[in-house]
Symmetry: C2
Subunit: 870 residues, 2 copies
Amino acid sequence: MKYVYKFSEGSGSMRELLGGKGANLAEMVNLGLPVPQGFTVTTEACTRYYEDGEFISPDIRDQVMEYLAWLEKDSGKVFGGADNPLLVSVRSGSRASMPGMMDTILNLGLNDAVAEGMSKLTGNPRFVYDSYRRFIQMFSGVVMEIGKDEFEDIIDEIKHKRGVALDTELDVDDMRGMVDRFKAFYKKEKGTDFPQDPREQLMAAVRAVFRSWNNNRAIVYRRENDIPSSWGTAVNVQSMVFGNMGDDSGTGVAFSRDPSTGERKLYGEFLMNAQGEDVVAGIRTPHTIDKLRGIMPECYEQFTAIVNKLETHYKDMQDMEFTIERSKLYMLQTRNGKRTAQAALQIAIDMVNEGTWSKEDALLKVDPKQLDALLHPTFEPKALKEAVPSAKGLPASPGAASGRVYFTADAAKAEAKNGPVILARKETSPEDIEGMIAAQGILTARGGMTSHAAVVARGMGTCCVAGSGDCFMYESEGYMTIKGVRVNAGDFMSLDGTTGNVYIGAIPTVEAEITGNFNVFMSWADEVRTMKVRTNADTPHDAQQALNFGAEGIGLTRTEHMFFEADRIGPMREMILSKSEPERRKALDKLLPMQVKDFEGIFTVMGARPVTIRLLDPPLHEFLPQQPEQITALAANMNISEQTLRERIESLHEFNPMMGHRGCRLAVSFPEIAEMQARAIIRAAVNVKRATGTDIVPEIMIPLIGDLNEMKFVKGIVQKAAEEELAGFGLKYMIGTMIEIPRAALIADEIAKEAEFFSFGTNDLTQMTFGFSRDDAGAFLDDYYSRKIYENDPFARLDQTGVGQLVNMACDLGRKGRPGIKLGICGEHGGDPSSIEFCFKAGLDYVSCSPFRVPIARLSAAQAQIKSKQ
Amino acid sequence: MKYVYKFSEGSGSMRELLGGKGANLAEMVNLGLPVPQGFTVTTEACTRYYEDGEFISPDIRDQVMEYLAWLEKDSGKVFGGADNPLLVSVRSGSRASMPGMMDTILNLGLNDAVAEGMSKLTGNPRFVYDSYRRFIQMFSGVVMEIGKDEFEDIIDEIKHKRGVALDTELDVDDMRGMVDRFKAFYKKEKGTDFPQDPREQLMAAVRAVFRSWNNNRAIVYRRENDIPSSWGTAVNVQSMVFGNMGDDSGTGVAFSRDPSTGERKLYGEFLMNAQGEDVVAGIRTPHTIDKLRGIMPECYEQFTAIVNKLETHYKDMQDMEFTIERSKLYMLQTRNGKRTAQAALQIAIDMVNEGTWSKEDALLKVDPKQLDALLHPTFEPKALKEAVPSAKGLPASPGAASGRVYFTADAAKAEAKNGPVILARKETSPEDIEGMIAAQGILTARGGMTSHAAVVARGMGTCCVAGSGDCFMYESEGYMTIKGVRVNAGDFMSLDGTTGNVYIGAIPTVEAEITGNFNVFMSWADEVRTMKVRTNADTPHDAQQALNFGAEGIGLTRTEHMFFEADRIGPMREMILSKSEPERRKALDKLLPMQVKDFEGIFTVMGARPVTIRLLDPPLHEFLPQQPEQITALAANMNISEQTLRERIESLHEFNPMMGHRGCRLAVSFPEIAEMQARAIIRAAVNVKRATGTDIVPEIMIPLIGDLNEMKFVKGIVQKAAEEELAGFGLKYMIGTMIEIPRAALIADEIAKEAEFFSFGTNDLTQMTFGFSRDDAGAFLDDYYSRKIYENDPFARLDQTGVGQLVNMACDLGRKGRPGIKLGICGEHGGDPSSIEFCFKAGLDYVSCSPFRVPIARLSAAQAQIKSKQ
């Protein structure tokens, strides 16, 4: 098994084996660019390391030594030799770019003897000891996991003693002294001398890079970017070139286009007499790249030529590292550059205009998730980098928000006049709606991704972090605690609804802005894709929002939120607490005209586009009051005793509401509810068709079906009511079901005989298939990530192994039961790119997602289509 | 399509088409016994009636009329004719015997004219009007659904006026008067005259019998006896013979053996000058059958000969109806007789000894569910018949109990000295244990089949009804309400733990008694079966109980209940509320020696038999205090503030605990818990093996696995702890998992690579596959039964369509992943006969059930085996 490759043995196409960095180094060597020689230890060696129980087997070690010997011969230098020493850098490089996630060590190969010899050789002992102290610090941090801070303290102490501000002002003796103190500190911490054997240093560094594949940063990054943990990282060992050899040396990074705006111009910065990490560290302020033209014009010309060559070669914007050693330019890295969403669109459109990309290429080049940033405010990237989250909750509605926190809707509404506010509540209820509208962000301590706060916020496009268990709200007292820290009303907080992070303090935000580029780009996506994109919308406002974002229909209207509104909750509660059918019908009669109006509004906005309306789904107790005062009031209102009311409320209590008396089970117990809703839907459709002449085709969706008889029974009620309402009027309607119970997927052929369409409710299907509730899983999912049991949140990304098996089964069986059955998805996964690709492969007719995710879905559907052709 | 058969066209083998009664009448005709002629309308006609929307199609009606014409011709009488009228009985008869569940009408064909004619013909107008008034009453009740009580009131009034006590004392004029008043009452109720057209009467009666297939009684009976609703009932139309024609006439029922004891002797009773319903009604006291010998010796001889002939022919104890009309004996029905459990065993053993049955025949003849009655007290059947349930709960632990109710454990314990007591609680907790032991029955208002009350009661074999949502407990005030009715401490209540019925008032009970017959019979079952029967047992006491009932191992030891005991709950709570691993380990160190003792006790009882121990399963908050006083005490104990404790408790709150942080998820978050338990299991096994020399083979079961990585991770922890404990000591142990999450079934091939055994946790698997929680489903399952959506409780009888599909899938995949993998079931279904048959077919190695169900499982397993050979 070959575990090590010279750069010259590799190529750009060997990414999987050599990692991105290794493959690109090889490619640059093949292109004849000035790259210091070296070799790559493959990703397979990393995988093997983990298979062997985190151990580097002798055969890998032997191959590393063999290639090291070659590198010595090639460079004419000796690793660990005092006369003409070879120093190397050791860098990680995985298949996918994971910038800053894993570790790098420079100047490896230095020891006391080598430092002395090199000083003689270069006549520049300051440079050598500067390099040595850097090496000790990096090696200690990366390989030995000794904290960086103590080393920095030593440096500060020395600078303070010498009365200087910059490292560059320290002289050779200072550097020697620093090396001695670093080594002493190392010995104190580790109990052994700093390793003097360069080969021992090298293997320890390789091991450290392998290990860094599983550091926490890397695990989180992989989860957020859908990178499998099985890939592993390669290790690149490369001859050092030195940007810190004096004033004719330097180092820098550059992009072939502006990564913020996408503008076509060289963009970057550099430092003279410095090594790579100085540019990043920010102690000295780097120069912009164009300054290099004045300082070293030849190098600048050579560099710009290389930049052009690389962009042309790779056909994408490049992110490059370079070093100049004594006026000679070396390329250390190139890769496709990360870019903002705005830049991504600009570059895509420019590349197409320049003839470099086809439209399909362009569509594949933009990460759909990035589009979110164009639709919602985001944090300033720099400020965000420095911010430390105080708590975490569910990323219930994307975007960023920063403002003063208030704990009641009234306070939030009042204070919103004076600046941005965050509304923080234990959980929200319909009475909070004005405060929610006024707030830039909403935080709740309880409730899941489908809680009132989450659903309302997603509809409005307001940032929301829900169910943050670290937060305890003392609303009436006007404060909250986060892990014991008290936050008072009026204090600044910031929320990241995309990650679920909660910050104490203000973080500057950047407003969202939709440009012409966006519409051009999205129109390309629409040209390509065949899978439809619908939206989940409960109100005419949300429906209109989604239409603006390109939705082609409604895949899910939840009727329950309608009943929370102030004028309905009364009759709704009467209905729920009714003891007999006639009583219940009386209350339902009050609700019917309101529901008709709800649906008229939606049908009017949507016109002839398909609209799927789901019958009442949540358990009825969700609508009941919980506070003593509210119960007292309701009892008085209903003219019954408080004890009677309490007993009725208590009798509706459920241990596991998610698995309780909800969905079609309500229609089985109280057919008159389903009947009222069916009437309202059909009556509204008839009214709108009569008024506008538009053909309205309502799709009535029965939730939570798990049995054929259940489907038949509820369908019978709906059909009867619908036919009575129509009374012969010509209007087509469909009756279908959600597939969200595992049993429904298992018997989908039977159910399809009664259902005209299936919509996969993958939220519930995921919950039931995994056996955990989304609202509760937060308590343990982090443990699952950190122990590498799960790589992804199955509620964010459809689990193709388990849940996907049921979806595919249900699609196949469904088509068997009813050829040509209409298939869609309305769970949260309908807005997730990888899940959308799965849906496309499963042959779904459409995906449906919240309004602000419609653009993501449109692009993802286009990408899935393009990939399937390739 | 042929919908009607003459008796002489049928045979005993045509049960499916003709129903049991029809087939047996045909068979008796074929045997040459004296049976009044008639015909049977088939079960297919009933099915067709329902398919046609509860409507009898003209072709069925035509066939009935055709056979009626034949019957007229055959009898020489005319239906509706005044001169020589034909009267008929109309009786239901389904494929399976459902005694008393459906409807019967006698004397059909009578009207005013016929009555007059018949009076002349027989010279016995009193008999005729007696028959007529009976007919009006029955027809009104059965066909027109007019309440019986009003008719009885009229009879009582007439008897009162005449100053007599018995119907037989009324003369012809009284009967005429009664007929007139009955007809007047009918007209008042229905607005039309009592129907005078006999053909209209007949078709209405047929329709009523079809309809009675779906009355509530019948639906409940079918559910309890696993009879599909698709079968339908046949209708038998038979020439009337009259036991009320005078003192040379009579009617009776008899069994060929004693249905209570099984003793081989003719057993029955009869009444002279009476019709069938008089014997049942109990107004006149019937004679025992042997009295007939004195009254009508010839009839008696003829009858005993027929009884012998029928028992020999049917090879089973017969239950027969006969009528004597003017000294001539007629057989009206024969069927295999229902019998008590005690009689069932006696008859089985006698039949084998008599050479009539093989042992295998005998095993198939006894309903396994009947064995329950031998192990638990039951209500006196007669008293039970009259009792009306006041509420319903979950049948959490079988048996019957009657006594004074108390609402605290202390009161129950104190009052138990004075007589049987019922302990009623909102829900029980470990502190209630003494009261639970003292009580004959336990009732809870909340909690499901796996609640503390349910599990403890099943272990003890104490009757328990759990989670009766109709009951509201006011424990401190010393009363409860049931649907508004107040029940005070000290009032009598009765509980049926087999059905879940709750009664206000006392019902006499019959003690359980195990006889020698039981052991003989069960040994036959053991000779036959290959599938093993284990038990679910959490304590040495339960384990011993199960061994006495024939268990061959433990399939499930739940470790959680151990932690509720008084000396453990303290350290347990400390453990749960620990903030760090070291803190948690400190508390676990206290629990470890207790767990070791727990397991030593169980291993000592079980010896070399396999013992499966499940790691901690429930969410941790179940162990925490909820009452304010307890929280105050615990905070003081733990030396933390009450607010801190409250926040910690609140942070453990879950929306859906069933789908929360439980099972192996606890081991993922807190590996040290699993480690402690693994150590305790292995240490206990080593200790017992060292002490006794017996080979202990513990099976460590990881609950709630849904993912391969999860299994690997927890297995790793368990294995490491086990190996450390063994330190080379020779002891075999296995590590396996429960299959209770749908996803686990879907990826069982992968999981089997890591799991040495699977145990199907079909309680949870049913919950997840159906998407409803057992604790909450009570609120709607009754609606599902009454609307004929479900025929069975899927928690009582394994759903073979959905859940069964997953079980079969997991078995197949599991064997693929690990050939020969050990497979078992430990859900409640492990004690249900039809589910056990399913398990046998799926190829499971064993079923495991609560101790008192072990005999049922042994017999069911034997039956499954015998049936598979047939």
